[in-house]
Amino acid sequence: MKIVEGVFFIFLFYFLGECISYLVDGFLPGSIIGMVLLFLSLHLKIINSSKVKATAQIITGNMMIFFIPAAVGLMTNFAFLRENWIPLLVACVFSTILVLVVVAVIQEKMEGGWRK
């Protein structure tokens, strides 16, 4: 019963997210708006976290199953990947290191400033 309740709320917020996405002319995907709405409802205690906890943990713990189909779509893009793998790889490598450094340094510096 708890699981069904959780599924109900998650789909409810997904639907509400799609409604808002429609209203803002698709600026953001409905799923992401739904995620923010669910977070806000829990944070502001509009719904009790125990109602979605069990379901959310099962879904997020096994999410990979749901994106394997999209990842398999790679088989239709092999030719594109063969032509573009160098920029893809180089950009990902440098950008990842840059993000790592930037985020860590900002947090470290601002935290240090707070203590003084």
Partner: protein
């Protein structure tokens, strides 16, 4: 025989079977490149090409599972709620770091790829590369990228950050546990978080928080940047 492979229920069996096998291989070997997603996708593509099945045939069953991608993004809202409970103070520094990190992530990956001569479809597909896969797929689909290429870039960033992240953080002399966790989650999403959990409980929790915040930030910034450019 081949007609049996075209049944949606077979494709669901193939996906779940490959997933379980992928998880098993990763647990046994612990080799970062043999991430369960890499193994399961390789098994499925190998199987489909061996029996000369098309992606559309695969999606007869695959669509039932990929339908649940949206709800799983919504469910991440619960994780964000849970992770935020652990954060006491530091709200301003964390939001600043994630906001700047998100902008740097998008701009740097697009700029570097463009300089090496990537075409526009690739640029759009790469933009959400530092975000957890379900959110990245939704952003990519939404902005006109190729979701499967987005997945490739997200996996590369995840595996790379998971391997070199802790060394780079040590090299530049980061001491704060919050800074370490935040950077691992922001650069390398769930794979970075798995590594951050090994570093410590604070690092792990903050890294989980970074995944959610990075997802929301990136989802908002990419369409904004696209509007400015056009």
């Amino acid at each position: 025989m081949k007609s049996l492979f075209l049944l949606p229920e077979f494709m669901v069996v193939l996906i779940l079977g490959s997933y379980l096998l992928g998880v098993w291989v990763f647990k046994k070997t612990r080799i970062p490149f043999l991430h369960p997603l890499v193994v399961s996708v390789a098994l499925i593509i190998g199987f489909l090409s061996f029996f000369e099945l098309e992606y559309d045939d695969f999606m007869r069953g695959g669509k039932f599972l990929s339908f649940l991608l949206g709800p799983s993004v919504v469910a991440l809202g619960y994780l964000l709620y849970e992770h935020l409970l652990h954060v006491k103070g530091n709200i301003l520094s964390i939001s600043t770091a994630i906001f700047v990190g998100s902008v740097v992530s998008i701009l740097s990956v697009v700029t570097i790829a463009k300089l090496i001569g990537a075409d526009e479809t690739l640029l759009i597909s790469l933009a959400p590369k530092s975000v957890t896969i379900p959110i990245a797929i939704n952003i990519s689909e939404h902005t006109g990228g190729i979701p499967s290429l987005t997945v490739v870039s997200v996996v590369i960033c995840g595996i790379l950050g998971g391997i070199v992240g802790p060394y780079i953080l040590r090299l530049i002399g980061i001491e704060s546990k919050i800074a370490k966790g935040l950077a691992m989650g922001a650069a390398s999403h769930a794979i970075g978080t798995a590594r951050a959990i090994e570093m410590g409980a604070v690092e792990g929790a903050i890294s989980g928080l970074a995944i959610g915040l990075m997802g929301i930030c990136t989802a908002v910034i990419i369409p904004l940047l696209l509007q400015i450019i056009q």
